[in-house]
């Protein structure tokens, strides 16, 4: 049993983790991720890339909803903005990928400030409904601004090359997604330890008290919107690279709900929780497919006929069960397990 945990120099306070064991595990995970393309097949790699994109989106939403306490039901809208910005700049304007990715993030952030300004006076559910309204308006504008977005025809994404590699498939796409995921997770972890992150936590816990302590609510709420949407926009851009064709229908309301389900399941407010939740929910459809393949009669077409409905029911069930039985989420289960392990054989 550990009896104490002492920090003896400022550098130990600044370090992300001062535990050699933790760094060892992180290094191992990174090596595993680097070797992933050689461990799983082409199909597996597609799933892993989707999971990485989900991780970026979840960490970003976690900044807004988990850390600042601003509930957003408009994630699909920001994803759409990022994906369209990337697709249009690549295909119609032939920008290089290393420029379109940040441009997609910045476009999304700019739009989010537009959304954020009227939302400043609103809290909780009213804010959720406003973000929902904005995501409908964004989809509508995309559908009707045909000159720019090709309207209902959608945009094919082509010509994404980076260092001579085609980053729309296989290894290059995977490593690009991995690099961006690592960058996002690092940004998420570090942001929560800065002045900005602490201001966000204060706003979440009690906004009036935060204001009394001198936190500029307008500034930090808008920052939360902008920074979160920047990463969501990048996730959208990656999505457009992976699916190669963007269309408004891809960014339906269910995507926003999925994003909220991820961070609720993972544990609100925790970056590690967002990562866990994203990985879990990304592989849930695959798990369901395997489950039905095992259990169901091989001639039954029940699963193939109702694949979206079953997936939807599974998301809903995950939300309901997580809220009811483990409000702290997967990260809460992990913390309990860790505490049990380090305190054993004592109960607490």
């Amino acid at each position: 049993m550990r009896t104490g945990h002492f920090k003896e120099s400022p550098s130990q306070l600044i370090a992300l983790s001062d535990s050699k064991v933790v760094w060892g595990w992180v290094g191992g995970l990174l090596c595993l991720m680097l070797a992933m393309p050689y461990l799983v097949g082409v199909y597996g790699l597609t799933l892993v890339v989707s999971a990485l994109i989900a991780v970026i989106g979840a960490v970003a939403l976690n900044m807004l909803t988990g850390q600042t306490g601003l509930i957003s039901l408009g994630q699909a809208g920001f994803l759409a903005v990022g994906a369209y910005a990337n697709a249009i700049l690549l295909t119609d304007y032939a920008w290089p990928v290393w420029l379109t990715l940040p441009a997609a993030g910045l476009t999304s952030a700019a739009i989010s400030i537009l959304v954020g300004v009227p939302s400043l006076r609103l809290k909780g559910l009213y804010l959720a409904i406003t973000t929902l309204a904005f995501s409908f308006i964004i989809n509508h504008v995309i559908l009707y601004a045909e000159a720019l977005t090709h309207g209902p025809n959608g945009v094919f994404v082509k010509g994404a090359r980076m260092f001579g590699f085609d980053v729309q498939k296989g290894l290059p796409l995977y490593y690009l997604a991995l690099a961006l995921t690592v960058a996002t997770v690092l940004a998420g972890l570090n942001l929560s330890r800065t002045r900005i992150g602490r201001a966000w936590l204060a706003i979440r816990d009690h906004d009036i008290a935060a204001r009394v302590m001198g936190i500029d609510l307008v500034r930090y709420k808008l920052l939360a919107f902008a920074i979160s949407s920047f990463f969501v926009g990048i996730a959208g851009a990656l999505m457009s690279l992976q699916i190669r064709f963007v269309n408004v229908d891809v960014f339906a309301l269910i995507l926003s709900i999925e994003a909220l389900a991820i961070i609720i399941l993972g544990g609100l407010g925790s970056v590690a929780g967002a990562v866990l939740g994203a990985v879990f929910l990304s592989f849930l459809p695959e798990g369901l497919r395997l489950f039905f393949a095992l259990v169901a009669d091989p001639n039954s077409t029940f699963y193939t006929n109702y694949v979206y409905e079953i997936r939807g029911i599974a998301y809903g069930a995950v939300i309901v069960f997580a809220l009811r039985f483990k409000p702290e989420g997967l990260i809460g289960i992990w913390r309990d397990a860790r505490k049990y392990w380090s305190n054993w054989p004592l109960a607490y």
């Binding site: 509930i71 009227p118 006076r121 609103l122 809290k123 909780g124 559910l125 009213y126 959720a128 409904i129 406003t130 929902l132 309204a133 904005f134 409908f136 308006i137 509508h140 559908l143 009707y144 906004d207 009036i208 204001r211 609510l217 309301l253 269910i254 709900i257 909220l260 389900a261 609720i264 109702y306 979206y308 409905e309 079953i310 997936r311 939807g312 029911i313 998301y315 809903g316 069930a317 995950v318 939300i319 309901v320 809220l323 009811r324 409000p327």
Partner: protein, 290 residues
């Protein structure tokens, strides 16, 4: 002039549907403080139940309503018991997210049970056009407006004079104080869900009779949010008025602006309304502004 009148008339019809759905929202929000994101799904579920009932029993309109509403209230009670009651005492955000989960579950459930093909469902209403002045109406449209008027009157009388209605307003005003004077708050919560499901049944039945019975009716729930916000989330009668206003605004903007404005006019209106009056037109002024 005729064009304007026609737009307003059809706007009032779709507004009546919004108003009915919005009243369901407001009723639950008023007594439990929860925004029920599954209200649209409740409307869809009850419409499908009515469809199955009418197919097996072959009833005309009024008996169909009289059979559907109690069954829907029972469904509302079951949903409240299974999904919402165990969450009592959790933060509001958690309960609201549980209704979001419930919504997704119901959506999948309905398609698995009834299939994704739309049905024609006349609910025993004839389809001969009736002229009122110079404006043609389908009877189903008039039924919808009449239903809104009746439900508003009934809810107003219920909340104003009945024992349970007064208890419901007491719970809305102050839950703890209501509990102290002997109101069973959990029973009131269950009653709110039952009444809301009953109103949802009327809305679903008439919406399906006016348009089509399809598994995308749930979206009407989200389209009704502007009406709830405009009316003020905790004002049941205000929600009905908000529904009519939003319906007319949507139709006018579609008629004179076009470009699919019908789809988003309501949402633009609520963003404007929330910026100016964050508590809606008739809502109580309890929103903290920070």
């Amino acid at each position: 002039m005729d064009f304007l009148l026609l737009l307003i008339a059809t706007g009032l019809v779709s507004g009546a549907a919004y108003g009915l759905i919005a009243m369901g929202f407001a009723l639950i929000y008023k007594s439990t403080g929860v925004v029920n994101f599954a209200q649209g799904e409740l409307v869809m579920l009850t419409a499908y139940i009515a469809f199955s009932l009418s197919n097996t029993l072959h009833l005309s309109f009024l008996p169909l309503v009289l059979v559907t509403v109690p069954i829907s209230m029972a469904v509302g009670l079951v949903l409240e018991r299974v999904f919402i009651r165990p969450m009592l005492g959790e933060p509001i955000f958690a309960i609201v997210m549980a209704t979001v989960g419930l919504a997704v579950i119901l959506r999948g459930f309905i398609i698995i049970v009834w299939g994704s093909q739309p049905f024609n469902f006349d609910a025993g209403i004839s389809s001969t056009v009736v002229m009122i002045g110079t404006i043609p109406f389908y009877p189903a449209q008039l039924y919808l407006i009449a239903a809104l008027a009746l439900v508003v009157l009934a809810m107003w009388l219920f909340l104003r004079f009945s024992r349970y209605g007064i208890a419901m307003r007491a719970v809305a005003a102050n839950e703890t104080a209501a509990m102290l004077v002997g109101v069973s708050v959990s029973r009131i919560h269950a009653l709110a869900w039952m009444l809301s499901a009953g109103i949802a049944a009327i809305a679903g039945l008439l919406f399906a009779a006016n348009f089509k019975l399809a598994p995308d009716i749930w979206f009407q729930g989200l389209r009704s949010f502007p009406a709830v916000i405009l009316g003020g989330m905790d004002s049941v009668v205000g929600a009905a008025a908000g529904g009519l206003i939003i319906g007319v605004i949507e139709n006018l903007s579609q008629g004179y602006v076009g470009e699919g404005m019908r789809e988003i006019a309501g949402f633009i209106v609520i963003i404007l309304v929330l910026m100016v009056r964050p508590f809606g037109l008739y809502g109580s002024r309890d929103i903290e502004r920070v």
